[in-house]
Symmetry: C2
Subunit: 274 residues, 2 copies
DNA sequence: CTGCACGTACCACTATACGGTACATAAATA
DNA sequence: TATTTATGTACCGTATAGTGGTACGTGCAG
């Protein structure tokens, strides 16, 4: 039974002025390259009366979301934000985050969707959502497959540092499972290059005849692959002319998941001054 | 109607109801071992009408401080908190934090105060505050000293994992600088034990005759030394009967600095469920 | 079906946050 | 030194912004 996403009505002007202002203040200070801002600066930027700004900042400070040095009274972000942030991360679980997204993809594409991690030189399946129509593919959770001949594996390899890739490949036998299997390191590295180009990976009957698979990597804040999502199905249904479209879907879904996992939205690279 | 004519000198009557409530909500959710809370749960805990709670939570969600899964309506902490928390940490600079505290110690104890890091097998001085009366001790910023014969070095060693300590000591020559210098690894390890006991370190003319020094470590969230603070002066003024008192001062100051650097206040260990 | 629990929308009332003025400091002139 | 200019803090009347009633929709369990 497919579980549809919870219906969420349009949002009416649900607004809480002070709250918005307070959050604006936090964000403003966070954006400053110096990491701090004085009261006049703040009230100017917020376009608020200095009394108002002062009151809000004062409360934020008393609660540890802002702080001031002993000798300066410029405001900076408080470390309580860090505590809260860590607590936020603590409860992010990739499987729970992935499930609803996977369900959507399974529905849209009409094929089985997998979530996998990289463990040593192997792909480890940790979640699966079946499309209704799919004639249950044999894979079980906890199952493993080699990296070099799966879309999941290749997608993750493409977003790992070179030396780790070498290490993993060194530990792989790279035997031909089908006549499409890539069996030498150089060819695989070219393939990884192509994957980085289009941002998703394809397994074109490389591990098993008659089965195709399309995958995209889940990245962390450092652009490093931590997992991957895939759809797989019989070659009769996953035809080459659908590669591009399905690939785009996987890419978008994987990106969505990446941000849910903690990868912050693409921002201008913040260099620390001095 | 009886109205009190007295203007109450309400010290900080600075209050912003919504803000406080919002922060309470964030903290409450953070405290939950499950990391999430539903609307009814929340309003009960906050003792607020569900409408009120809903409105606040809604705004927090729209700003990324809270989030809800696609299939669940329970609120969790949003990852935007993590972004902000990291920005907070980014601008914590140990030297800036330390300076005011060091000044106070220099005044109270009346001796020169140093802040140092551990770099490889050496102590690296990164800040110094002189007491007025002090006849300027020769140390310069950027100077280095061995770990094994300084209070700073020993204080930091005492709060590093054993294997790192071994590594550092292996790289040290441990030659006798004075007749008090500890010159063998075993004796030094016993000394580290004693330091952990009393929580501060003493250099009793171990690097230079006529100079004594008392230091305490700055710890990060993992209880690992990242720096140390010390006072040092002529043995004629830093007499053994002052060790305990000065040590307590250094300990308290170092702890204060540790929390300012990001070591969260001692809390009940939060174990993740499931 | 009926009842219950929960999330959301609407709205009148008044407590609440706003932003004036005013004073108390500190820093920057002269 | 005195005099100004910025900045932080306190007080307070007023209107607006937030509150918490009621009400409706939806999904779930009996």
């Amino acid at each position: 039974m497919m579980k549809r996403a919870v219906k969420r009505p349009k949002k009416p002007p649900y607004k809480v002025q002070v709250l918005d202002r307070a959050i604006n203040i936090l964000e403003f200070i966070g954006k400053q390259s110096s990491g701090e801002a004085g009261l006049p600066e703040l009230s100017a930027a917020m376009k608020l009366h200095k009394t108002t700004t002062h009151r809000i900042a004062h409360v934020l400070e008393s609660r540890g979301l802002l702080r001031r040095g002993l000798d300066s009274n410029r405001y900076r972000l408080g470390l309580h934000l860090y505590d809260l942030g860590c607590q936020a991360l603590d409860h992010v679980n990739i499987r729970d985050e992935a499930r609803p997204l996977m369900t959507r993809v399974a529905f849209d594409v009409g094929e089985t969707v997998h979530l996998a991690l990289l463990d040593r030189a192997e792909v480890l399946y940790i979640e699966r959502i079946e499309a209704q129509r799919s004639l249950t593919m044999g894979s079980k959770l906890g199952a493993r497959n080699p990296v070099y001949c799966t879309a999941l594996g290749k997608a993750m390899l493409a977003y790992l540092p070179e030396n780790e890739v070498d290490q993993i490949l060194a530990a792989s036998r790279m035997e031909a499972r089908t006549r499409n299997t890539i069996t030498n390191v150089l060819a695989l590295k070219r393939e990884l290059e192509r994957i980085r180009d289009r941002e998703f990976a394809i397994d074109d009957e490389e591990i098993e005849d008659g089965v195709r698979c399309i995958a995209a990597p889940i990245l962390n804040a450092n652009n490093r692959a931590v997992a991957a999502l895939s759809v797989s199905g019989p070659s009769s249904r996953i035809t080459p002319d659908r590669f591009q479209l399905i690939g785009k879907t996987m890419l978008k879904t994987a990106q969505e998941l990446s941000t849910r996992i903690g990868r912050q939205a693409p921002v201008v690279p913040v260099k620390r001054k001095r």
